[in-house]
């Protein structure tokens, strides 16, 4: 009996290969994501101005940060923006997906129309949006030219309303993508379930409310995650549309962080705002990831 219990070379290699293949990605993630997060966290406790330095200042940056009115504006704005953006995008996306799923003629044409905004950066569409929302040359003027003289749409110029114009543009950009996700979810639902529900006497409305929408739960979750991280990261949208204005009424955490880190030479404060943003993202993502990965195990 040839009693060699040691695995042969090829087998050992095959055992290690998967890990070897994954290792670079993992290492890169550890360095470029977590290493950099740690770096930022350290910076947030230093007196870094234009370039990083490591003069320890304790919690000073955080104290300064929370004392800044602009940061508080940014927090309020992101709360308003994220809520409206996620809710409206989901609603519009779902509505379009459900309607598009009714064996619509021309779906092949409509779908790319709904989807294409996702393909464009706001560097590209920012100016067009700015114009469109501008009362002097945009919607307001056009509607007035059409004869509705009293029409008024001056949100982008109004410190209290400007944040809602950002919601409009953001919804424009991503609701098509959300639509695609829901559409995929809808197409994945077993037709027999729908037939069964119809035989049970459910009206169309009941059918969707009681059967279809609950079945779309995974799509809802994916949409929520994608939308919430887009909301928190939203930067070029704000820059292109309002530049943070009127005044600083549309300041958001991402624009705030960028300006303090790079244009105001207060890298320490910028880093502390970044840390708070990251903690917020983690607070949303970690429970989701945990639940998601736990279930699939």
């Amino acid at each position: 009996m040839t009693a060699s219990t040691a695995p042969d070379f090829r087998t050992r290699l095959q055992d290690w290969l998967p890990k070897l293949v994954l290792a670079p990605s993992f290492a890169v993630t550890i360095l470029f994501v977590y290493g950099f997060i740690a770096f930022t966290a350290v910076l947030s406790f230093t007196g870094s101005k234009m370039l990083p330095n490591f003069k320890w200042v304790g919690w000073e940056n955080y104290e300064k940060l929370w004392a800044l009115p602009a940061w508080n504006t940014a927090i309020v704005n992101i709360a308003i923006f994220a809520t409206l953006y996620i809710v409206i995008c989901t609603a519009v996306g779902l509505l379009l997906a459900v309607f598009l799923d009714q064996k619509i003629r021309g779906e092949g044409v409509l779908r790319p129309i709904y989807l294409y905004p996702m393909a464009l950066s706001f560097i590209v569409t920012g100016t067009a949006w700015k114009w469109f929302l501008d009362p002097g040359i945009g919607l307001e003027k056009v509607v007035r030219l059409w004869g509705w003289e009293s029409f008024s749409f001056t949100w982008i110029k109004d410190g209290d309303m400007a944040i809602y114009t950002i919601v409009i543009a953001a919804v424009w950009q991503t609701s098509g993508f959300v639509m695609a996700m829901f559409l995929a979810g809808l197409r994945g639902i077993d037709n027999e379930i729908l037939k069964a529900a119809q035989i049970d006497g459910a009206s169309n409305w009941q059918l969707y409310r009681r059967i279809v929408i609950p079945l779309l739960r995974p799509a809802f979750l994916s949409a929520f995650v994608i939308l919430s991280h887009l909301a928190i990261k939203s930067y070029d949208l704000v820059v292109a549309l309002t530049g943070g204005g009127p005044g600083r009424a549309t300041e958001m955490p991402a624009t705030f962080m960028y300006s303090y880190t790079f244009t105001r030479n207060q890298m320490g404060i910028g880093a502390s705002s970044a840390v708070i943003m990251l903690m917020t993202i983690a607070a949303i993502m970690v429970p989701y990831l945990y639940a998601e990965l736990k279930e699939k195990k």
Binding site: M1, T2, A3, D8, T11
Partner: protein, 370 residues
């Protein structure tokens, strides 16, 4: 030393041992079936033979060569999967020769092997199709063909018939049996279906909770189950298990069964050795076919006992009629000839073949050996 030796094999995931000291020696040409409920460890064992899962303890040897740690492809085995695992992007022909290609077999040789096997399985006309275009039965054949082409030392089957409908399953079962008889290959076959196990195997390993409960020929397993689990798992309808007490009548051991109304029925054992169990509780095991109408009783039996009882349900199954009664507070099933005239609610005199009865120790659940 067998052709395929499984020696003291254990498997653990972390601290949890899922397979406990399995010891099986399979001879060349043998058809071993691993049967058991899901989660019993049978698939794990099969995967370990295949090399798809590591071995925690013990050894597996094929043709005398210890294969622990040897890559699946170097064990000279072939496997047929439950889902057939046909590569969806390849044609049937490519599917079947993929293994040979991977092993560096030259093309002409591959073509020859493919042609032979395709002819054997009558799938020549399917070779250019994709798996998606095949019916369930055809896929099953292709999956087997893929294994056959390799001409391996050991064939491993992982519940290959469970995705087929009832009729096809029976047909394919016969087909596999024929193939085995023709090719005399060594097969390890996993199933949870005890009929497949009985019909196909030359030997069966009944598994539960990571233990081999019993290893034996189908007849051994059926007639002399090692314990309550094997007794109830093998056979359909399952063996009737009735709580009873051993009493001595005229120095001969009898099983006393007490009904809910307090009435006691007594059935004489054929095994004198049960005298030692006098006064103790046992579980009496009688297969349905050992409880019959008096005319249908086994004439070779030396110990037919009469049992009068009320019929609760009758289920005519065409060839037989199954009759349910209450015995010792439990449902017991009798298997009558189809023309036995019996109706629900009636009282009836059943004939019990006590030669086929077995007794189990309630504490250990093991069969009390004669």
């Amino acid at each position: 030393m067998g052709f395929l030796d499984i020696r003291n094999v254990t498997k653990s995931y972390g601290n949890v041992e899922v397979l406990h000291r399995v010891d099986i020696a399979v001879e060349e040409g043998e058809f071993l079936v691993l049967v058991g409920p899901s989660g019993c460890g049978k698939s794990t064992l099969l995967n370990m033979i295949a090399g798809l899962e590591g071995i925690t303890g013990g050894e597996i040897a094929i043709k005398g060569r210890v294969v622990n740690g040897v890559h699946p492809s170097k064990r000279n085995i072939a496997m047929v999967f439950q889902s057939y695992a046909l590569y969806p992007n390849m044609t049937v022909g490519q599917n079947m020769t993929f293994g040979l290609e991977m092993h560096g077999v030259p093309k002409p040789e591959r073509e020859r092997a493919l042609a032979d096997v395709a002819k054997l399985l009558q799938i020549d006309h399917l070779l250019d199709r994709k798996p998606g275009q095949l019916s369930g039965g055809q896929r099953q054949r292709v999956a087997m063909g893929r294994a056959l082409v390799r001409n391996p030392d050991v064939f491993l089957f992982d519940e290959p018939l469970s995705n087929l409908d009832a009729k096809l399953r029976v047909d394919m079962r016969t087909e596999i049996k024929k193939l085995h008889q023709k090719l005399k290959t060594t097969i390890v076959y996993v199933t949870h279906d005890q009929i497949e196990a009985m019909t196909l195997s030359t030997r069966i390993a009944v598994m539960n909770k990571g233990y081999v409960q019993q290893l034996g020929t189908p007849k051994e397993i059926y007639d002399t189950p090692a314990n309550l689990f094997v007794a109830t798992f093998m056979g359909s309808p399952a063996m009737n298990i009735i709580p009873a007490k051993v009493v001595l009548r005229d120095g001969v051991p009898h099983a006393a069964v007490t009904d809910a109304d307090g009435a006691e029925r007594v059935l004489r054992f054929s095994q004198p050795s049960l005298t030692a169990w006098e006064g103790k509780d046992i579980h009496l095991g009688i297969r349905p076919e050992a409880i019959t109408d008096p005319e249908g009783a086994d004439r070779k039996s030396g110990n037919i006992q009469s049992l009068s009882n009320r019929v609760t349900v009758t289920e005519p199954a065409g060839s037989d009629t199954f009759v349910t009664m209450t015995l010792g507070g439990r449902d017991a099933i009798a298997r009558m000839r189809a023309d036995a005239s019996v109706a629900a609610g009636q009282s009836y005199d059943f004939a019990v073949n006590m030669d086929k009865a077995v007794a189990f120790d309630p504490a250990t659940e093991a069969r009390i050996l004669p």
